[in-house]
Amino acid sequence: MLPQASPHASYEIAHLIGATVLMAGFGLLYQRRLQAVLNTFAFQAMALAAAAGWQAHIQNAPHLWATAGIALVFKAILVPFALHWLVERLGIHRTVETALSIGWTMVVGVALVALSILLVLPVTAGAAALTRESLALAMSVVLLGLLMMITRHNAVTQVVGFMALENGLILAAVSAKGMPLVVEISVAFSVLVAMTLFGIFFFRIRERFDTLDLHYLETYRGDRQ
């Protein structure tokens, strides 16, 4: 067992790991190559596992170790591996196509971080300091995942954005005390199921439209005349 750190230091370390997850979220927005995006995503999941493990240690909550394990095995190893395999199978190694330039995406990202901090701090005035800061960080990660889903054309990167969003949710869940394990397990498995469905859809979309750029679907949806 690790030595029990002082409350202040343990709070700072939790904050630091949360910030690492957030930085990985910015890394996802910054990358231009599909392979690099997937590697960054794996890194983010690893940081998430570390965050969950640290919370398990300082809250003395054994079930959070399970969360950390799930994050490490499924999200840091299985999902990136599957996505790498998909990218390989579909033969897409090209650069990420963006709807908004990378620089502007980063600017919007920072604005979203400021927004989530402004939002979370007054709402959670009564909560413990550790929870508040982690919630602000987690909210930022969720919004960055959403931003990634909005600003990317390619279906694979949109799925990575979805998974990053889900990483933010788990980060929020582990920092709130008393989150039942069954909820986390069911979330983890539904993400895995979603991953499988996305994989099948990729092949279907590709077969039908010869591309994974989702703009071509808009004519069929009636968005574009």
């Binding site: 230091a9 700072e12 904050h15 701090l121 508040r132």
Partner: protein, 316 residues
């Protein structure tokens, strides 16, 4: 008072004495990583000596700016290196100098180098100058943002105060300081023309930035320009060491033993960071010119986030 003047003199000489060795060390580590034997780390001293022996050739079209620029550049960088604490914070110039003065001195050096690049009237020089100015216009705001977030944390823009504040445990493991460190590292890479931004060893026209500006120089002028580059690299390494890992640095009133420890710690930190730089440079490819804005914009945003997170920790 007298000790601080003496220490300041030692620091002024140390900055110039160590700089070629640091550059030589980076080159040696990079050579070893590329499975080459590489020259001895003392090679930059020999190169500088050789250049100082040689005749300086100046283009017919060049004006006095071309002759003056190497000296002004070197003087500005050297002056900047005087105010960054290396082994002790007990420096005579420490109260007068802060990070903003440092940015200004480095900006002066860059301005003169860019002028010299355009002065001879060759296309490469102009191309190098325009690229250098583009990088500078992106790197300087990021550097100032780092300065602001550090001064918000510690209540001072003086490197000596910030180092003392970090040593006293006033900051701890703050997110802001981690973000500021990342931003400063990115700025330092850009400012020194290291690999993702510029390749210090290139002689291929399309990729040159700093090399293109000093292409026309020879002899003692080139020696001054090269020396300025080496001192700038050591200065940034010392700055990162002093602001973010000031452990071992001698505070005012330290005994001679403390100064010796400070000197040893400075050398260990410098060569560790230099090795890390060489490993980083070997593992990464050079970036396209059009991506500089993203890279340095990223540094600026990290600095901004450092400030935002400072207010979050304040609010809690």
């Amino acid at each position: 008072m007298n000790t601080s003047i003496a220490l300041q003199l030692v620091q002024i000489l140390l900055a110039v004495a160590v700089a070629p060795l640091v550059t030589g060390w980076v080159r040696l580590v990079k050579a070893r990583m590329q499975a080459r034997r590489g020259p001895s780390p003392l090679q930059p001293y020999r190169d500088l000596y050789r250049l100082l022996q040689k005749e300086a050739v100046v283009a017919h079209s060049a004006s006095w700016i071309f002759r003056a620029a190497p000296y002004v550049t070197f003087a500005a960088v050297w002056a900047a290196s005087c105010i960054v604490p290396t082994f002790t914070t007990d420096l005579y110039l420490a109260p007068a100098a802060d990070l903003i003065a440092l940015v200004a001195l480095l900006g002066l050096a860059r301005f003169w180098t860019a002028l010299a690049g355009m002065d001879a009237g060759t296309p490469f020089g102009g191309l190098g100058s325009s690229r250098e100015m583009m990088i500078a216009s992106l790197a300087e705001p990021a550097m100032l943002m780092v300065t602001f977030s550090l001064s918000l944390l510690s209540g001072s823009t003086s490197p000596a105060h910030i180092a003392a504040f970090v040593l006293s445990g006033g900051i701890g493991l703050s997110v802001s300081i981690g973000l500021a460190l990342m931003a400063l590292v990115m700025v330092a890479i850009a400012e020194n023309g290291r690999i993702p931004i510029d390749n210090p060893a290139t002689h291929l026209e399309l990729t040159m930035v700093h090399e293109a500006m000093v292409l026309e120089y020879s002899g003692r002028h080139l020696a001054m320009m090269e020396m300025a580059g080496m001192v700038r690299l050591t200065l940034y390494i010392a700055l990162i060491g002093c602001l973010f890992m000031p452990w071992g640095i001698a505070l005012p009133g330290a005994a001679p033993a403390g100064l010796a420890v400070g000197l040893g710690a400075f050398l260990v930190k410098t060569f560790t960071i230099a090795t890390a730089l060489a490993l980083f440079e070997t593992s990464i490819a050079k970036m396209r010119v059009f991506r500089y804005a993203d890279f340095l914009g990223g540094a600026l945003l990290l600095g901004l986030l450092a400030t935002i997170f400072h207010y979050v920790s304040e609010a809690v």
